[in-house]
Amino acid sequence: MEIRDRDFDREVLKSELPVLVEFWGSWCPPCQKEKYILEKLREEYKGRMKIVTINVDRNPRAAYRYGIKCVPTYIIFHRGEAIHSDIAAKSEGQLREMIEEALKKIPNQL
């Protein structure tokens, strides 16, 4: 799911669930491809982790705010706080590992 600057507060910072945000650029071929995997994981983690993407050129405010210097950048938010961040394109296995690690940091996660 692609979000925009104006939805960032609602979709990410105020979300009940933890949120993985992928910051991407249309000129970044690995980002373009990774969207398919993120869609798949979005289904798989439904109810445990929300997964969204945001284009850095179209949504400069979010990109400025989090100082995005390279894409893809992943930030996992929980209750408005960034609890994990990472850069560089990942395989499905690596993404899953990253999500599982972050979930461990969150108490009372189902």
Binding site: D5, W27, C28, E34, V56, D57, P60, A63, A89
Partner: protein, 534 residues
């Protein structure tokens, strides 16, 4: 049912003025002034076609925008300005007429290099082609199409730049290269000529686009031969690895998704195309240019409605060893009563597409520009065939026209595997761009026989008959290849590998094509591109 490009937005549109309005920071283009403005006002752009909109949010879809009109190939910008480099060539001229018929404002350049090369080699197009002035006049008279033509060598950047400034193209189709593998293998001079013309021409063009029209898309012709035919049998993906491709090494893994797949070009000509690929890939990254690099299969055929409308509008067709492609050559040989020359075992597999289908793909690509900075690749093929099977098919159709055809295996002058697996992925055109091939191989071959058996054309084929059998060896030797075996069609046992074309077409079944056509009618569009959204 929506047209394939209905959901695209200003971000894909060449009329959207992004330069100066968007802060493409991560491309290394961050501009403090833009940043401050965006922080104050949000991200707003302007439209080159609708200046009255002032500054606005770039979220208008093609379906909503009054400038994008429905046609049966998707929404097209009204009077879209498309510039064709290499407009005098086999594909360039055909596309010019097709786009003109769709209501595009077509412009083009050519330096007639192809005509000169052919003349120097003592050969000629077997379908007569007219001088450019006459072509242009006929296009106006017969089809009411105005084409803005300039005789320019693409290497002359000053002249090309002037013309680009004048036209302000919204899409550029780059066909203007030397298209022949054997020509590049004649000797050192020819190899250098091909690489210099193709690579430097394209590199210069990229710099001009950056300066003059960074928002327009570049549709650049590469070839399926850039990939080679990997003996591992791994699929030939569409230029970049898919998301789920991973590299495993010593117990660790990395994503390959989005990385360029390996290239294994099969001649110095193909090397020029690979070099182009890298140059375009980089330019997209540095300057947020956008491009489709089209890995096109071998084209065959003579027909589109527009070129068939008048003898003066016909496009060229060559059958000599340097510029003739395989199906076109086989048809000429059949007409001359010459056994069809299959190189080596004839088990080589290649990707093919009919002229008319290839033109439809190009229109669809023009209609659906990539996003800013996006370098994308499409594999443009409609079928994979073994060379020996093509000979059988041509022989079968030839029999319908009363020709008794034999096939001959000759020495293979090229360095290539005679037996090899071949698996090609071509999913974007059928699924994302709504393309379904419409011209079966035999249908186009029949059309070729109808045209090429006309007495004045048979006469022209006869004149170049001695140039059909190859003498240009990849080893550098110059000697006519010898016959290894002559056989009757249908008598040779099939061996080797079975090709595999992966289209995932079930996601866009053929029945949907009719649905699209109905949808276009419903919104008032059609072939002419003059549909009105009201």
């Amino acid at each position: 049912m929506k047209l394939h490009n209905a959901h695209k937005t200003c971000w894909n549109c060449p009329a959207a003025i992004l330069k100066g309005n968007v802060d493409f920071r991560a491309c290394g283009q961050s501009l403090e002034a833009i940043r401050r403005r965006i922080e104050r006002e949000g991200l707003l752009i302007e439209c080159a076609r609708l200046p009255d909109l002032g500054h606005f949010e770039p979220t208008i879809t093609f379906e909503e925008c009054p400038e994008w009109r429905p046609t049966k190939y998707g929404y097209l910008l009204e009077n879209m300005r498309v510039m064709i480099l290499g407009i005098d060539g086999y594909l360039g001229w055909t596309l010019a007429l097709k786009l003109g018929a769709l209501g595009c404002e077509v412009s083009g350049v050519d330096c007639f290099l192809r005509r000169k090369m052919v003349r120097e080699l003592g050969t000629d197009s077997v379908v007569p082609i007219y001088p450019m002035e006459e072509r242009l006049k006929a296009a106006k008279e017969v089809l009411d199409i105005d084409i803005k033509f300039r005789e320019i060598n693409i290497l002359d950047r000053e002249k090309l730049g002037q013309f680009m400034r004048e036209v302000q193209p919204e899409a550029i189709v780059h066909y203007g290269e030397i298209p022949s593998a054997p020509y590049s293998m004649i000797d050192c001079n020819h190899a250098i000529q091909v690489q210099y013309n193709n690579v430097i021409g394209t590199l210069g063009l990229l710099f001009l686009m950056k300066e003059i029209c960074p928002e327009s898309s570049l549709i650049k012709l590469g070839t399926l031969g850039e990939y080679g035919a990997p003996l591992t049998g791994r699929p030939l993906f569409e230029g970049l690895f898919p998301a789920d491709a991973v590299l495993r090494w010593r117990g660790r893994e990395w994503s390959l998704g989005g990385e360029l797949t390996p290239r294994d070009p099969v001649s110095f000509y193909h090397v020029s195309k690979v070099q182009d690929t890298f140059n375009i890939y980089e330019a997209c990254k540095y300057w947020w240019l956008r491009s489709y690099d089209v890995m096109q299969g071998v084209i065959y055929g003579v027909h589109t409605d527009e070129v068939a409308a008048d003898p003066r509008l016909r496009t060229r067709l060559d059958v000599d060893e340097w510029f003739g492609t395989v199906v076109n050559r086989f048809v000429a040989q059949a007409i001359l009563g010459m056994p069809l020359t299959v190189y080596g075992e004839g088990e080589q597999i290649r990707g093919f597409i009919a002229l008319e289908d290839a033109m439809e793909c190009m229109v669809r690509l023009i209609s659906s520009p990539p996003e800013p900075g996006q370098y994308d690749v499409v594999n443009q093929v409609s079928g994979l065939h073994k060379v020996s099977e093509l000979a059988e098919t041509v022989a079968r159709v030839a029999a319908e026209f009363g020709y008794d055809v034999k096939i001959q295996r000759v020495e293979n002058p090229r360095v290539e595997a005679d037996y090899h697996p071949f698996e090609v992925v071509s999913t974007k055109l059928p699924n994302e761009l709504g393309f379904t091939p419409k011209v079966p191989l035999e249908v186009e071959i029949r059309r070729m026989f109808e045209l090429l058996t006309q007495p004045h054309i048979v006469e022209r084929i006869r004149k170049v008959a001695h140039l059909i059998r190859p003498r240009t060896w990849w080893s550098g030797e110059k000697k006519v290849v010898e016959t290894l075996e002559v056989y009757r069609p249908g008598t040779r046992r099939r061996r080797g590998f079975k090709p595999r074309l992966i289209t995932d077409r079930e996601r866009f079944p053929v029945s949907k094509v009719e649905e699209v056509e109905r949808a276009v009618e419903a919104i008032g569009g059609g072939e002419g591109g003059d549909g009105n959204k009201g």
